[in-house]
Amino acid sequence: MMVETDKLVYGASKKAISKAVDALSLLLGVDVKLRTHEVRVIKPENILEFIGKNFSAVIGVVSKFEGFIGGYLMLMFDMEQAKKLLEIILNHNLNLPFDETSKDFRLDLLREIGNIVAGNLIGEIGNSIKGRLSYTIPEVKPELFPALVDPLCIDLAMKNFQLLFINSILSSEIGELQVGIILLLTINRGTVQRRLNLSIHQK
């Protein structure tokens, strides 16, 4: 069941993801659309029920964010599609062939994609809920999808807060290119409510 503060964060997250989608469209030079957007309040150990029996190997780009709400943002790319994504970005922005780049450069580029998405998305959530959020430099990791999600859930489970799971899938006109965005966040409802009340009072 979603209470008022959850609904507020849900609304903020949808707007924030739209902002991140626009940023990705600019980066790729093609239209990226939000295909699905799902929000649930869940227990961490049940997360696999909601992400489905997806045991594929992916490239995860993960960032931790903190402030008066905290959690994790993960971009998820199919391994082959991630390569295609980099090819498009390199061609569109730098006119640079993929094969002329080093592995470190490609890693940095993925990290930068994560940075751009995190900056837009987390920044927008912070703006909407009138509070500053900071986030870590994204970590890039090729891994089985549940193995990436598992440590995030355990970390959040230990904090004993409500867990909001936001799952968005983006797609573009370039073939079957898809990007998954997963946002896991804990809300201390009292803090969010107090902050909202304070900002209303100051107006």
Binding site: F55, T136, P142
Partner: protein, 158 residues
């Protein structure tokens, strides 16, 4: 297939598997004589408060599996163990519960707790495939006692 925070006991010819062990730890108990095996996929070393799920915690899952084995006529002294997982897949999720926790990292704490509990029960660990920074898939075959572990291959362009 054993999911997160679950445990199962199986007889030959049924195999037990679990996927994508990151920080979580899989604990296998095996009776080589009766060919009965148990697998628990645990998330945390111990509960802080109520136990919402026995399979979720190392300290509850292992004794529960031992209890199940006893009901099937297996004696504790014949049991062998394997532990798999407890990786630090992401550097940033390195976390510790208290300032005095010198181990840090939930994966490492899961490994330590599993070893401590098994040692206290006198169950020897035959396979210890733990730690590192990669996720693991696991298949256990009670008929042979084999533990098969697979890792994800990094793409060659990265």
């Amino acid at each position: 297939m054993v999911g997160m925070a679950e445990y199962r006991i199986a007889h030959n010819p049924v195999n037990l598997s679990t996927w994508a062990l990151g920080s979580c730890i899989a604990i296998i108990l095996f009776d080589p004589y009766k060919k009965i095996g148990g697998l628990a996929h645990c998330m945390l070393p111990e509960p802080h408060g109520i136990v919402d799920s026995v399979g979720k915690y190392v300290v509850t899952a292992i004794p529960e599996m031992v209890k199940c084995f006893k009901k099937l006529g297996v004696q504790e002294k014949t049991l062998r163990a394997a532990i798999v997982g407890g990786a630090s897949v992401l550097k940033m999720s390195f976390t510790s519960v208290s300032a005095n926790d010198t181990l840090g990292g939930i994966g490492l704490r899961n490994i330590k707790k599993a070893k401590d509990v098994l040692h206290s029960l006198g169950i020897p660990i035959d396979v210890n495939e733990t730690g590192g920074n990669r996720g693991r898939n696991l298949l256990f075959k009670p008929v042979t006692g084999e533990v098969l572990i697979a890792y994800v291959k990094k793409p060659d362009w990265l």
